[in-house]
Symmetry: C2
Subunit: 546 residues, 2 copies
Amino acid sequence: MRIIIIGSVAAGTSVAAKARRNNLDNEIVIYEKDKDISYSVCGLPYYIGEEYIQREDLSPRNPAWFKKRFDIDIHIEHEVLAIDVSKKELEVKNLQTGVIFYDHYDILVLATGAAPLKPNIEGLDSEHVFCLRNIISADKIKEYIKARQPVSAVIVGSGFIGMEVAENLIKTGIQVAVVEAVEQVMPSYDPEMSLRIKNELQDNQVQVFTGEKVVKINAEERTVVTDKGSVLPGDLVIISTGVKPAVGIAQQAGVELGTTGAIKVNCHMQTSIKDIYAVGDCAESYFLMDGTPCYRPMGSTANKTGRIAGDVITGGSLSFRGILGTGIVKVFNLTCGQTGYTEREAKKAGYDVEVIHNIKPNQTEYFAGSSELVIKAVADRKTEKLLGVQIIGKKGVDKRIDVFATAITFGAKAGDLAHLDLAYAPPFSTTKDPVMYTGMILDNALNRDRKIITFQEFKSNRKKFTVVDVRSNRDFEKGHIEGAINIPLGSLREKSEQLLKNQSIVVHCNKGVTGNAAQNVLINLGFTDVYNLSGGYKEYKTETTF
Amino acid sequence: MRIIIIGSVAAGTSVAAKARRNNLDNEIVIYEKDKDISYSVCGLPYYIGEEYIQREDLSPRNPAWFKKRFDIDIHIEHEVLAIDVSKKELEVKNLQTGVIFYDHYDILVLATGAAPLKPNIEGLDSEHVFCLRNIISADKIKEYIKARQPVSAVIVGSGFIGMEVAENLIKTGIQVAVVEAVEQVMPSYDPEMSLRIKNELQDNQVQVFTGEKVVKINAEERTVVTDKGSVLPGDLVIISTGVKPAVGIAQQAGVELGTTGAIKVNCHMQTSIKDIYAVGDCAESYFLMDGTPCYRPMGSTANKTGRIAGDVITGGSLSFRGILGTGIVKVFNLTCGQTGYTEREAKKAGYDVEVIHNIKPNQTEYFAGSSELVIKAVADRKTEKLLGVQIIGKKGVDKRIDVFATAITFGAKAGDLAHLDLAYAPPFSTTKDPVMYTGMILDNALNRDRKIITFQEFKSNRKKFTVVDVRSNRDFEKGHIEGAINIPLGSLREKSEQLLKNQSIVVHCNKGVTGNAAQNVLINLGFTDVYNLSGGYKEYKTETTF
């Protein structure tokens, strides 16, 4: 059997390696139109910025290695021009010699990846404008920086790559501005979470322009002009406005696309055409929580889908179970992680959601290096299942995101989290881990009438609520929500007569714990509509200041 | 209703706080025979050694705080002498005044904790011998160190506390020896995993004596003598040979104990006597995997059981789901984590186990600070469920242990792990996380005939096997398993004729990955009994060198 794979970054080489591990006899051939293979796309921003990452680190394997180790033939600089589905034949061009030839496949795997989404900007073709999409483009950026020593850079788009490039350029001493068309940086996060990322960027001398669209890149003056009239110096411009699935050849062959525009596949990575598979960034995925199709190109998913296709092709039965869209990014001193749905996505998907913000130390507070995690969790009120989590903090974010991702994978309900037997010692966590607290807060809201109100919900119904600030008088005097009454928790019981039992009351403390205690007091005293402000005064300050 | 709790460390105060959060009207009273309440036992080793942990950090709350915040009456230095079950009455002694009085309870909660297991050693009562069990004892050790400036210390016992105290004493400049009666340090780990801990101790100038029992502490000469004749200088001696449940008063009242010697409770923390509950270190627990009773006193479990009892007492329905015995300890530069059963425990519990060692970097290797994780995983061959995991490494151990703990909680099978959508970016992990690789290796062994053999199994059947070392000639020449044949992977296919297809063959590389590739080649060529050596040459070296 002759297996041909188009593309040899993460997904394509995973297919090949798995197919070979399962079976020695098949011919396995990969056509790759670029020079580099099996490289780490996720490492590219670090390759640009930090000298200790060598080119060989990113792409440690060459075709000779694959030939020797796995008897896999990788032909680089070979572009597949067309697929003849009826003949099972490919038209291939050797880009070095220009020679065109035909090759027969029994099984074809499309691992054509993604291509940058190029926005409609005047001047995009200037020599100082780059997309970071592969090693070649990273090389070009590095060479440009070395040769021209740019003083300023503009990054267009503020997703993962934009954030990582911003950090890495700042570290090389370049002034950086980030321009993002929507109203927040890192649009995959909920708005109030992304405020923290924006703040971190600004704290590290990155200029941030949100809600502005770049309309023109002026090559001569080396400036970038936005639709709001901002004119930013940009000796170097990096376009990182996302990617789209590279599906040209698939479409031409008549392979069905999904609603997201990526190639539609079943759980065995099979496309609509017999014996044609699709894996990695060109294939559509779906959310594990409910099967909703999605397009989330990620290296981790590419590896997974490649392995599954390689197995199925050789008689195995592995099948894809969907994704959570789990992602993580380092932004200077912050780590930002997310898994599952954001509040916005969950609402859009039709869920009646319970939403909470949980602000807790990542480890025992008396231990050196303790810092704060802000955890936003979204659960489905109907099933009580966790739908998604976003976490921002300095340390321990990756741990909690992975624990949440694992819990969501197994259909965890909010109430399950407090029962987890997680590892505790002072250097690593708190006696009750922040994951457990998150579950407790959600469960109390879902099942014990300890209602949580987000600042946004509060804001949009401000007049309905009496606000009781249960912090100390001193804290209250330093700053408080307009119109709030100050009744410190200790005197709440005696002073509760000031309040009416059927009033809609929002209590809050600094982060939420004392607010919860106050809520307990009022509910136990017979108050009927008491909310604790999600994330307390701290979250209020974040959402009204940054 | 009058709720009385005996004991106010982690579990007792959790009961009280939860009971109050649920209900404002009950009287809640705690009797505590010591002075300190609600303190972090787990922080004590760090309090001894590191100046930046203050006494207030360990015990931030006093009875006045509990009174003000929760209307809970904590009576310190009050010892409960007896329980009269028929009258629901306690005999209580005020240790400050000597006055004895009686108090009536409607609900009684035993949170009496644990007491040090004092081994039978001559000279144990000397003034330079300490147990570290509470803040008072930590104070005494600190005072002793300050006043006498000991040059040498002997730690008897090598569990969590022993390890943490060793590190903290070394950091204050004291010479430390650890003496452990069984043949390994950290007896809760499997022997070959504990070798790495022993090595780390020795690398950090801790003398380690395993398989030696301390028989005498010589107060005058300040020496410690073992049954093997070792005489160790010990100006300071710390006994950390474990704890036993403090069940004296429970027994006297006729409360039933479990097979472990701790108080038997149901999932609502109710004892055999109506209206008496037991929580924390005095109560028996059980393994979540199969319900086997166990005694694993841990702060995290104490908090959990306290919260559950507090809820049930006030009409709630929380119930305990069992533990995994998850634990973590920092030993100098290593982190050691475990969850679920060890190989030894699983075998003892009657499981037919699949065991693998997975050695992988904790994050992308080209990224600064990457280091190696050694993951040992145990699965049940019958159900394919994960039974337990031990991890040792420098970074990222806590994350993986918590992910494994979460997966085991939800009954994960080995094959589920590779499907997890964990967070990947170069600073945090590898494209396939080590957790996923662990699942793949186990699944391949369970379902795809990619058998793994541990070094111990190999050693005990050495003559049965032909050993094929698939590393390079150069690596082979540097050192190899006696009797091994060297056939580098690249030439394995052509040279496989040297081997007989029905021979029992053990292949190995350095850590396991290339060994797996070699195993695939041989199996695909028709070899029928091929094993990959678990953890490869690296594990062999560890088990034969340290």
